[in-house]
Amino acid sequence: MSVKRLPAGSLSLLVLIALAIVGMVLNETGQLEALKGLALRLTTPLQARLATLTSSLSDLTQAARDLRELRQRNEELEAENARLTIENVRLEEDRAENERLRALLNFTQVNPDYDYKGAEVRARVIGRDPTNFQSYLIIDVGSEQGIARRMPVVTDRGLVGRISEVGPNWSKVLLIVDPSSSVSALIQTTRATGTVRGQIGGSLLMDLIPQKDAVHRGNIVLTSGMGSNFPKGLVIGQVVEVHQRDIEMFQRATVRPTVDFDRLEVVLSITNFQPLLIETPEAEATTEP
């Protein structure tokens, strides 16, 4: 009788299958409980440690994921914050401009007799005279917009000055605080008249006030309209100090202008006011727009 040769490893397979069947039978009959208990007792601490380690690793990867998400979220929020800040600045500028224009509109409604031409100071950097001795502004309207020399320039707070030089789309405004500026004025309450002149340093001096007239601190100074250089009734400023000496022919008063010349952004030029020209023919020729 010949024995057929089995392939290599077949015997090991048969043995393992036999052991598995024996194990199953023993398990079903409850003979393995003691052995299983012993195995669990031995492996439980190790399993617990493994579970802790696995949990820690899981937390770590979660934290890395969270960090990445938080960074991304932070970047998004920073971008949003920057956008909102810019928008807020723009809205704030719009609000401030709206207030200025509303104030000018009120002024034009209260004084409807004049035609106004809105003009915006071109820029602070080039909008002011570069010398410390003179006070001029440059505005962004000129002859193309109907501006001509000597036209009064105002804001809702009062008289600013008058146009001294005109280009096609720019004009220079001689401010009333310039030492070469002179405005016929009167005190609102007492109707005392005088001449308001600009002073070095940006203040005003009302001169040539008759001694008999009363002038008090706090009085409002208006344009008198005399000399026809400015319309009557525009606010110039408020008396802050009175200089009265009996030995002098006239009184003088220091006047604080109501217009804040350092913060001028929008002005109005009164375009239909015709100033009286008592200048040389050469000057008159340049007055034409």
Partner: protein, 140 residues
């Protein structure tokens, strides 16, 4: 409407000290005409004042102390006084009302002080530019 630093004056003084009268006067001309265009004063007033200042400052270029910070400081003080007085003189000559005492007390002296304090910043900036762009000559 207070006194403001005269930047163009400080630039012209500094550049004239660093590069001499020739280049200083070129910038005085350019700067002066630019300022005259913006000013309501008689045209040419700032140009004349800056040219005089540039000429005076350029003399300091030959000094061995020209890179010492004290020279521009002293020069700023002297030239501001000269510059402002030239402007006042031209304003007076062209028929503008000039209150000499008030102008000197409230404008000329404060602006001389401000320019003197600020010129080191302008000078150091231009000195850096001078080293980057210019030649370094030795005068014997």
């Amino acid at each position: 409407m207070g006194v403001e630093p005269e930047l163009m004056l400080m630039v012209v003084v500094s550049w004239s000290l660093l590069r001499g009268t020739g280049e200083g006067m070129v910038w005085a001309l350019i700067g002066g005409v630019s300022l005259d265009l913006l000013s309501g004063a008689p045209f040419g007033m700032m140009t004349v004042a800056l040219l005089v200042v540039s000429f005076l400052s350029g003399l300091g270029e030959r000094s061995v102390f020209r890179t010492h910070i004290l020279l521009p400081v002293v020069m700023a003080l002297v030239t501001t006084l000269l510059y402002d007085l030239i402007i006042l003189l031209i304003l007076a000559l062209t028929g503008r009302p000039v209150a000499w005492t008030d102008s000197v007390v409230h404008v000329v002296l404060p602006s001389a002080l401000i320019n003197t304090l600020l010129i080191p910043l302008v000078f150091w900036t231009l000195q850096w530019l001078h080293r980057k762009t210019g030649r370094e000559e030795i005068h014997w």
